[in-house]
Symmetry: C2
Subunit: 497 residues, 2 copies
């Protein structure tokens, strides 16, 4: 009977990840995919609340690190994009030819985002004089304004961010949160006096990434992407990849160090202490709703979602049991809920007239980290019965419910972080030589220090993609897997989403 | 010297409102209008923070009243708009002909938003098969999904809301917050079992409006708009107009009762308790960034903005004075700031190396409600010196700074609410007869119960527009100003923004 009730919800087993993922995001009511535009889902209340909890963590980190929140227009005039395109094609050519960008003439080559954007060329019944496009990201918009805001070194560092909707005209298959056409997007943009200051910003970004990934219990690999996979406008790109359950990696965030390249294209200068005009050095840090996709994918199981407490839309669900048998049950539940809400927990009382099993499955599917049951005997004993979504049940005292719940949620978080670490250990295998068999569902660690041609060999032989240099190199000398030369460069290869 | 420092900021006197308003929103750094698209300003950190504080009040009210937050795609396919247009033109005709909408054939007439929207007809290098447009508001998008979410009476009431960017292709002159092309927009959409339930929702909306307007200290007139000024898709429209300093009214919010008209067009039905299929009855409630425009316009003065404490980005600015003369000053300021932050106040310490006058003007322009100065003698006396932006200064004890600041901010709020009431009293004059002279900067209260033709007479004679029926009719019989017949209908006429 219980199995029947569960089966009715229609969740495929998680081992069939490609069927499980799209099913669970709808069954748990995170999104509705029936909106009549492909790749643009409707955020339902439960999913949107989860995303807003993730945003709240981001806001907190941004405030802690003195970033200021702005909000730029969605629309960008076409002529600004052309400035970006010129820069990007210049940098791309310089990189390909291995020369300094300043040696090259600026070409009117088409590049950048032009082929991936939605265009607004008409308004009402008019054709617009200057076509505009929906932002895919906001470099162009922001760097048009930065010169107006930055005059002297006292205006630096300028640290801004926004959380907005952005758009990419995706032609690949779409997937909720992971590959969508309207993206809930976070972007931080900073300007600094020099390269060193900008580099310190990247370090701070990685510290923020660390905090966020810990809060969400996500297993990540942080890599400096190889040159051919660097954002064309960047000096270098650091990417944060989550290891999904099937061993494929999902890039959820990235930081770019721009050096003074954009500043030169957009004329972002400042007067230094001696009164000389200098170009700013810039960085960006981006994340998206993919964070939620990673949380869903990483923590869910055959029974539904599991939310880490910091981002759970509902952290605790309270269920009165057999309340018709004792008048003390409902008041005890209400008192506990009040105390928990007062202490800042996100709490739901489920007093629907349904069989308990039905209710369990609902909250199990939705991934509520902690369920508290209160029946007549519990009240007599002064307890609530706590059941963690990650497993384990025990009574906790009602008269100190706040501390009890705090501890239970900590246990859930600890368990999720531990699972995440085990997943990393299970997933990452050392690749010793090119003859070694490549197993499905794994990521390989390699010593690699070869040329682009060597990289191509490595990728072709293994069928995997190079993520780039791990932040931690090997502690001692290794042999490059392709060239055999001595190196400490530690890289990962994986199937990427 | 002081006057020189102030004059340099270039704020025109508030009596010249049309010059003061656009100047102050930029000088106080709420927005930057230099973004290269007309009517699309960049929100700077200070302005965005103020808007987010207003949004926080809205979220709180929505949570209190059991609304759930959703987020719908920005883009809407053209064919859905056509459904809306058909409905709207049908209702318009029915209203014009004074018949029930069900008696009319649905015409393929063009109406609604079609002429006011931004079109997306191209993506990348492709022309799209189905053109899409940027939402001007989300009825069409939402009511396409509601039928999928509502099955039976237990799913009702469905109460949703979202805070998103919306777009109108404005052809009139733009003005920050008041008339813009990208709008920061709040919209609540609800579905109910019947007209009564929907009407009770409108009552709840007006209660929410009351709380919000009190928090912002805004003087408002709430009116049921006359038929010709009702949103074409609505059964009736209730509008909330702020009385701006120059006596013109600015509509900042509105509620629509839709009856079952949209439900019939979009097939939004439910099964009632007897298993019969019924149409839902619906309401919407909308507000926009105009709220911030109203706050700026209503409370500011010749010296800058004045923020009501509930939405002030910075509620208290702390200024150490002559800190070089005593080592006790900085620690005292830091301790006070910590205590205030702990208590949830938004606090800024201004320790810039500038002359005090310079600092005062900065925070005066930005409208921070409370300034606290702490100098060596203040520390000795155990006080901070409190100066309210609305006038008045006094010492408050440092060892109970939280209560002191709480009281000071209450005084500011009380003062703003009082000014607002006085403004209403000063502004609204009774219009006794059509011969009475119409004075600039005033709103007139009239007894009016005439036909559309009589309304035209009233509007033409006075040069003012009819806002509609006030929520409170006259307590006793009056003579209609045009027809002379007996009525209790109390209406207002004004110049509208």
């Amino acid at each position: 009977m219980a199995e029947h009730g569960k089966a009715k919800r229609g969740i495929p087993p998680k081992s069939d990840f490609n069927a499980w993922y799209p099913a669970i995001v709808e069954i748990a009511e995170l999104v509705d995919k029936r909106y009549p535009i492909k790749g643009m889902d409707v955020w339902r209340p439960y999913g949107w609340k989860a995303m807003r909890c993730i945003d709240a963590l981001t806001h907190r980190e941004m405030e802690r690190t003195d970033h200021e929140e702005v909000c730029f227009p969605l629309l960008i005039p076409e002529d600004l994009l052309e400035k970006e395109n010129r820069l990007v094609s210049l940098l791309k050519r310089a990189r390909e030819e291995g020369v300094d960008p300043s040696e090259l003439r600026v070409e009117e080559e088409e590049a950048g985002f032009k082929k991936e954007v939605y265009w607004v060329k008409h308004a009402g019944e008019n054709e617009l004089d200057v076509p505009m496009f929906l932002r895919p990201t906001s470099e162009t918009a922001m760097y048009t304004m930065f010169p107006l805001w930055i005059r002297s070194h006292v205006d630096l560092p300028l640290k801004t961010y926004q959380i907005v909707n952005t758009f990419r005209y995706e032609t690949k298959q779409t997937r909720s949160f992971i590959r969508v056409r309207e993206i809930h997007f976070f972007e931080a943009h900073t300007a600094h006096v020099d390269e060193d200051c900008a580099s310190r910003q990247i370090e701070q970004d990685l510290e923020i990434v660390g905090h966020l990934m810990d809060s969400m219990g996500l297993p990540v690999i942080i890599s400096k992407r190889p040159v051919w996979d660097t954002f064309p406008g960047a000096w270098y790109t650091i990417a944060i990849d989550v290891i999904m359950p099937n061993g494929r990696t999902l890039q959820v965030a990235s930081c770019h160090h721009y050096k003074d390249q954009w500043a030169k294209a957009f004329d972002i200068t400042y007067q230094d202490e001696s009164g000389n005009t200098q170009y700013c050095h810039q960085t960006t840090y981006g994340m998206s709703e993919r964070l939620l996709g990673a949380v869903v994918g990483m923590h869910g199981d055959d029974n539904g979602l599991i939310f880490p407490p910091p981002i759970a839309p509902i952290q605790v669900v309270l269920m009165p049991v057999a309340a018709h048998k004792s008048d003390a049950v409902i008041p005890a539940v209400d008192a506990a809920a009040s105390a928990l809400r007062e202490a800042g927990f996100r709490v739901k009382i489920d007093s629907r007239d349904l069989r308990p099993g039905q209710k369990y499955w609902d909250w199990e599917i939705k991934g509520v980290p902690l369920r508290l049951e209160v029946g007549p005997r519990d009240v007599e004993n002064g307890n609530a019965f706590a059941a963690r979504r990650t497993g384990g049940k025990e009574p906790i005292p009602l008269d100190n419910i706040v501390e009890g719940v705090h501890n239970q949620l900590e246990m859930v978080q600890t368990e999720l972080n531990q699972r995440s670490r085990i997943h990393v250990d299970d997933c990452i295998i050392r690749l010793e030589n090119l003859e070694q068999e490549i197993l499905d569902g794994h990521i390989y660690e390699v010593a690699f220090d070869g040329s682009d041609a060597d990289a191509e060999t490595l990728e072709k032989t293994t069928g995997l993609a190079i993520l780039g240099d791990a932040m931690e190199p090997f502690p001692d000398d290794q042999q490059c897997i392709v060239t055999g030369k001595t190196t400490r460069r530690r890289q990962h290869i994986a199937r990427m989403y």
